[in-house]
C-alpha cells in the first residue's frame, strides 16, 4: 500500500474500529458495569439485609431445598457473602422419561434466593447486576450463539484496532502526556490517545482474555485436530467426580455446612459453590468448589463428598500448564479475584476503554466534517455514522439509567417484572434512536447526555427517601455498598451534565476560521492520514 506500513495500519485502525465500534461500546459499558455485578445484585434488591453469617444462609438453603425439592436430581447453591444479596439456589427435578437432561436449566420456577436470615427472600424480581454480565457477551433479544459470534468478531477487530493503533503512533509516550483542549479535532485525537494509551496494557489484556473466554466457540479447530468428540476435552479440562445412580433407598443428607467447613479448612480459602447430586438418597453426593474470589484462575479446585456419611471421596486433579494459563486469563478478565481497590482500578480502566471507543467513533466524524464538500448537507454515510454515534454513545447509557429507575419504580407484584426492567432499557434506547433520527445531532447529543445525567443524579435522592435504611444509614452500620453505588451514580451524573453543557456551549468553528487554523493540521503525523 502506498505510504508505508504506518499509513496502512492507520487505515486498518480507522475502519476496523468504526465497523464494530458500536458493538464494542455496548460490550465495554456493560462489561465495566459488570465488575460490580455482585454489588449491583444487592443494590437492586434494596429490601434485603447484608449477609452477616454465610453459614446460616447455607443452612437455610438446605432447609428450603429439603422441603421444596426433596427428591430432585440435583441442587446447586452459590454461597452467600457480604457482597452478594444471599444464596442463589437451583434445583433440577428428576428427568421424565425421554426428556433430555439439562433442558430445565435457567428456568425461573426451579430457582430461589435465600436471604441473610436463611429464608426465601421477599425482594423485587430483578436480574440485578447479572443482566450486565450476560449482556456483555450474550447481548439481548437474540440467540446467544449469534451474539457470542458477533461479540467475538468485534473483539478480534478490537485486537486488530489496538495493535494497528499502537503501530500508528509515532510518539506514543508523548501523546500520553498531551491533551490540547478546545482545539476541535486535535482535542478529540488527544482524548482518544490519552484514554487508549493510559490504560493500554488493560485494553490489550481485556481484549485478548475476552477472546479466550469465548475460545471454545471461536476457535474449535485446535480441539477438532485432536478429538473426534470435543466433549472428551471438556471432561479433561473440567473433571468431575464419577456420576452417581439413584438407589431408591432414602437416607438423610449430611449437614452441608460441615462439608463446606471441611473444604475451606483444606484449601485455607472460602468455598463458593456447591452441588448436590441425588439428595435424600443413599447414593447422594456433594461437590464443593473453591470461591473464584479467592484465586486468580477461574478453574477452581473441587472436592466431592459422600452425601450421607460426609466422607471425602474425590478431589479434582490440578490442571496442566496450558489449562491453568487459560484459566488464569479468564480469571484476569473477569476480575473476580480482585479486592475492592483493584476492582476500582478495573472499573476505571473499563471507563477509560469506553471513552476510548466513544472518542474514536466521534473522531471519525470530526475528522471528516472539515473535508465535506458541503458541511450543511453531508453525504449519507457521514450522516449514518453521526446518528448511530448519538444513538449508541448517548442513547445506550440513557437506557441503562432508565433500567436503574425501572428497578426502583416498577410495581413489586408486577408479572414478568425482571424482564420489564430490561424492556424499559430498550424502550428508552429505542426512543433515543428515533430522536437521533429526526432531530439534528447538535440537539440530540446534549438532550440525551443531560437526561442521563439528571436520571442518574436523581436516583440517589430518591433512594434517600424511599429506602431510609439503605444508603447513608447503611454507612453508619459499616456497610458502604449502597452508599458507594449512590455516590458513583452522582459522580457519573455530574460528568454527564458537564459534557451536555459543554456540547450546548460548543460553537462549531466557522469555515474561514478553520481554514486559518488548518495550517497546523497539515503537518500532522500519520495517524491523521486515514
Amino acid at each position: 500500500m502506498k505510504g508505508g506500513f504506518r499509513q496502512s495500519q492507520a487505515f486498518l485502525h480507522t475502519w476496523s474500529g468504526l465497523l464494530l465500534g458500536w458493538v464494542l461500546f455496548l460490550v465495554f459499558v456493560t462489561g465495566t458495569v459488570a465488575f460490580w455485578r455482585e454489588g449491583l445484585n444487592r443494590y437492586m434488591r434494596p429490601e434485603l439485609a447484608r449477609v452477616e453469617r454465610p453459614m446460616a444462609v447455607l443452612a437455610g438453603a438446605q432447609r428450603f431445598l429439603g422441603e421444596k425439592a426433596p427428591a430432585a436430581k440435583s441442587w446447586s447453591i452459590s454461597l452467600a457473602d457480604a457482597r452478594s444479596p444471599g444464596a442463589q439456589v437451583f434445583w433440577a427435578p428428576q428427568p421424565k422419561k425421554g426428556e433430555a437432561r439439562g433442558r430445565r436449566r435457567g428456568r425461573r420456577d426451579t430457582q430461589a434466593l435465600i436471604d441473610a436470615d436463611g429464608q426465601v427472600a421477599h425482594a423485587r424480581d430483578t436480574r440485578g447486576g447479572d443482566f450486565f454480565y450476560r449482556f456483555h457477551f450474550d447481548l439481548h433479544y437474540m440467540p446467544v450463539i449469534w451474539a457470542r459470534w458477533l461479540v467475538g468478531v468485534a473483539s478480534l477487530m478490537m485486537l486488530v484496532a489496538i495493535l494497528s493503533g499502537i503501530v500508528t503512533h509515532k510518539k506514543i509516550f508523548r501523546d500520553f502526556f498531551t491533551l490540547r483542549r478546545h482545539k476541535g479535532q486535535r482535542s478529540w485525537l488527544d482524548g482518544h490517545n490519552a484514554t487508549a494509551v493510559l490504560a493500554l496494557p488493560f485494553h490489550l489484556m481485556i481484549t485478548y482474555t475476552g477472546l479466550v473466554t469465548l475460545m471454545a466457540l471461536l476457535m474449535p479447530w485446535a480441539v477438532v485436530a485432536n478429538y473426534s468428540d470435543p466433549a472428551k476435552l471438556s471432561d479433561t479440562l473440567f473433571p468431575s467426580a464419577p456420576a452417581v445412580e439413584r438407589t431408591g433407598r432414602p437416607a438423610p443428607l449430611v449437614d452441608l455446612t460441615t462439608l463446606v467447613a471441611d473444604a475451606e479448612r483444606r484449601w485455607g480459602a472460602p468455598a463458593g459453590y456447591l452441588e448436590v447430586s441425588e439428595p435424600g438418597d443413599a447414593a447422594a453426593r456433594v461437590t464443593v468448589s473453591r470461591s473464584p474470589a479467592s484465586m486468580l484462575s477461574s478453574r477452581t479446585p473441587r472436592f466431592a463428598y459422600d452425601g450421607v456419611t460426609g466422607r471425602p471421596v474425590w478431589a479434582s486433579a490440578p490442571p496442566g500448564g496450558a489449562a491453568e494459563t487459560a484459566g488464569a486469563m479468564i480469571g484476569i478478565h473477569a476480575g473476580r479475584y480482585a479486592d475492592p481497590l483493584l476492582r476500582w482500578l478495573y472499573f476505571l480502566a473499563g471507563v477509560a476503554g469506553t471513552l476510548m471507543v466513544a472518542s474514536g467513533l466521534v473522531l471519525w466524524t470530526v475528522k471528516r466534517r472539515e473535508k465535506l464538500p458541503d458541511p450543511a448537507r453531508p453525504h449519507f454515510g457521514f450522516r449514518l455514522v453521526e446518528r448511530l454515534n448519538v444513538t449508541v454513545i448517548a442513547g445506550f447509557p440513557l437506557g441503562v439509567a432508565c433500567l436503574f429507575w425501572a428497578n426502583r419504580l416498577l410495581p413489586v407484584e408486577m408479572k414478568g417484572r425482571a424482564q420489564w426492567e430490561i424492556h424499559v432499557l430498550f424502550l428508552a434506547w429505542g426512543a433515543a434512536a428515533v430522536l437521533a433520527l429526526v432531530r439534528r445531532p447538535t440537539l440530540v447529543w446534549p438532550a440525551l447526555l443531560g437526561a442521563t445525567g439528571m436520571l442518574l443524579g436523581l436516583l440517589p435522592a430518591y433512594n434517600l427517601f424511599a429506602f431510609p435504611a439503605g444508603g447513608l444509614a447503611s454507612l453508619g452500620v459499616g456497610d458502604p455498598l449502597p452508599a458507594g453505588v449512590d455516590a458513583t451514580m452522582l459522580a457519573f451524573a455530574a460528568g454527564y451534565v458537564a459534557v451536555a453543557l459543554r456540547v450546548v456551549r460548543h460553537r462549531p468553528p466557522v469555515r474561514a476560521r478553520t481554514r486559518r487554523g488548518s495550517a497546523p493540521l497539515r503537518d500532522v503525523p500519520a495517524e491523521m492520514a486515514a
Binding site: M1, K2, F5, S8, Q9, F11, L12, S16, L156, L159, V160, L163, S164, V167, Y208, L211, V212, M215, A216, L218, M219, W221, A222, V223, V224, A225, N226, Y227, S228, D229, K232, L233, T236, L237, G320, G321, A322, A323, T325, A326, M329
Partner: protein
Amino acid sequence: MTGWRRSGDMALRVVAAVPLGYAVGSVWAMALARLLPLAAAEASVTGQLVAFAICAAAAMWAFAASSGWRATWTLLLIGGAAAAMAWTSMAGGGRL
C-alpha cells in the same frame, strides 16, 4: 492506481484479512495442537490460546503488504504450510 483498481485491491485485502486471516489462525492452531510435544488437551488449549494472535497478525499483514495479491498469496502459503503439517499428522491417526 485508478479508482477501480484501488477498490479491487482494497476488497482483496479485506478478504485476506478477515476470512483468510481467521483461516490462517485456525490451521496454525490445528498444527500446534497436533505437533506440540504435550498431552492432547494441553496442546489443543495452547493452540486455541495462540490462534487469536496469529489471526490479528495476519489481518495486519493483509494491509501492510505492498499489494492485495501479495497479501493473499503469502497468507495462502503460510496457511498452506500449517494445513499440510496438520493434515499429515492427522492422516497418521491418533485422534481421541
